[in-house]
Symmetry: C2
Subunit: 236 residues, 2 copies
DNA sequence: CTAAAAAGCGAGCGAACGTTCGCTTTTTTC
DNA sequence: GAAAAAAGCGAACGTTCGCTCGCTTTTTAG
């Protein structure tokens, strides 16, 4: 599996994201026709991530967003109830979408080493395909309301539990060498996050997501691998 | 070296930080007597990190800061020129202080394995001792002006170059067998950052900084180690 | 083609922001 | 203890914020 193939197969377009956004927030959006609403939501979604990821969501004014999206203030507010809801809308929709894709992607692999490799690779590829959202989601989580903030934390912990579960299984089967599953999962998560949080760094060094994935997988399996070896990666 | 000992020896009190802050921004601070200025700067420093790390610097109003610090709006502005300068003041002072401490701390160790372990451990211990500042520095860097933003990036890259340099040296001496020093340094940095960015996670699981340091060092050396072994840690 | 419905618009509203300044209180000096 | 200096104060200022609403333009329906 390479990133090019992942992107082709996963096919998560902005249009899909915005269709999901419209469906889950239908009441707050005044625009009647789905086609019109989605087209403009795409511009709003793009502009929000572009401006926010540069200066922060709190620092982005609705006038900034109006300019960046090409919509007037009035038209903007026909597509969202408030600035606060815009944040919640983008976060919750992205969360729902990403967790669905992740769940589907590595369920089929069986041997622990291959499963761990597939999980790491899929996380990295997905975060690459939706990098602006991942960055936004991480940096702006603390501006959410208490309830949504809790959901964001839960979502993050669920990811770690996936890694930890695979490692625990590998330990039990003797494929891994009894590394601490929780701590190992935590540092895997840290390495994955660094990819989308510090993209400029890796871009400058011309490191592709494929190469980064290879490196993280090698490092992880190097630490986990038991005597009967788990260094080879399954096809996913 | 344990964290308890590090904290005793390094002795970086808020008073030291604020004395440095006053000295480097003397012109912008209207208060004449050093003792008074430092005492109040400590309250401002504490309050800024406390409120900012919860809701973000941009979302923190000067009235929030007045309330949290116990100083009136007028008194506040006798200790800083503007909100923007307050951000720059905290960031640049912390940067100067931390880089000075880091430089001194592992220069003495010689063998590559011990040196890498000491570097990782010191970074973790320092980030633990000044956790609020490290978190603040990471999250609010993008609100800095262009010039200061550049300095913050440089400071981060310098840290990574320290790790990469030690690994390269270890490769040359045959202690390490690491094909990619730059990527390894990057993921070490990522693991260190996760400690102060996700403290709540580790606190909830009751993982001490000492245990986390042991884990990161073991994982790193496990990946790097060459034939003549570098798993043992020097006393530092 | 026309009338109704939908979408788009931007000046203007009250609230809240960062910052100031004339005044009071506290501390220092002689 | 009186005069001078320093520190502390908070109402008020101009600006900018999120958001609204009456109006115009575009699209749809008959």
């Amino acid at each position: 599996m390479s990133f090019a193939r992942f992107k082709r197969e996963a096919a998560i377009s902005r249009q899909d994201i915005c269709r999901e956004m419209l469906a889950s927030h239908r009441a707050a959006i005044k625009i009647q026709k789905e086609e019109v609403a989605i087209r403009n939501l795409e511009r709003i979604y793009d502009a929000t991530l572009r401006v926010s990821n540069q200066k922060g969501f709190q620092a982005m004014t609705m006038r900034d967003l109006s300019r960046a999206s090409g919509l007037s203030m009035g038209a903007l507010y026909d597509h969202l109830a408030s600035k606060e809801e815009l944040l919640e809308m983008i976060q919750s929709t992205g969360r729902r979408l990403t967790s669905r894709i992740l769940k589907e992607s590595y369920a089929s692999v069986e041997d622990p080493g291959g499963k761990l490799a597939a999980a790491i690779r899929t996380h990295l590829y997905l975060s690459e395909a939706m990098q602006p959202w991942f960055f936004f989601s991480y940096m702006e989580a603390r501006h959410l309301g208490d309830k949504e903030k809790q959901l964001a934390k839960q979502s993050e912990q669920r990811t770690e539990r996936v890694f930890a579960g695979i490692i625990r299984q590998g330990n039990k089967q003797g494929a891994f060498n009894e590394a601490d599953p929780n701590l190992t999962a935590a540092v895997i998560k840290a390495m994955v996050q660094d990819w989308y949080l510090k993209r400029w760094k890796y871009a400058k060094r011309r490191i592709s997501v494929d190469r980064y994935a290879d490196f993280v997988i090698k490092a992880t399996l190097g630490c986990c691998a038991g005597i009967n070896g788990a260094g080879k990666e399954a096809g996913a």
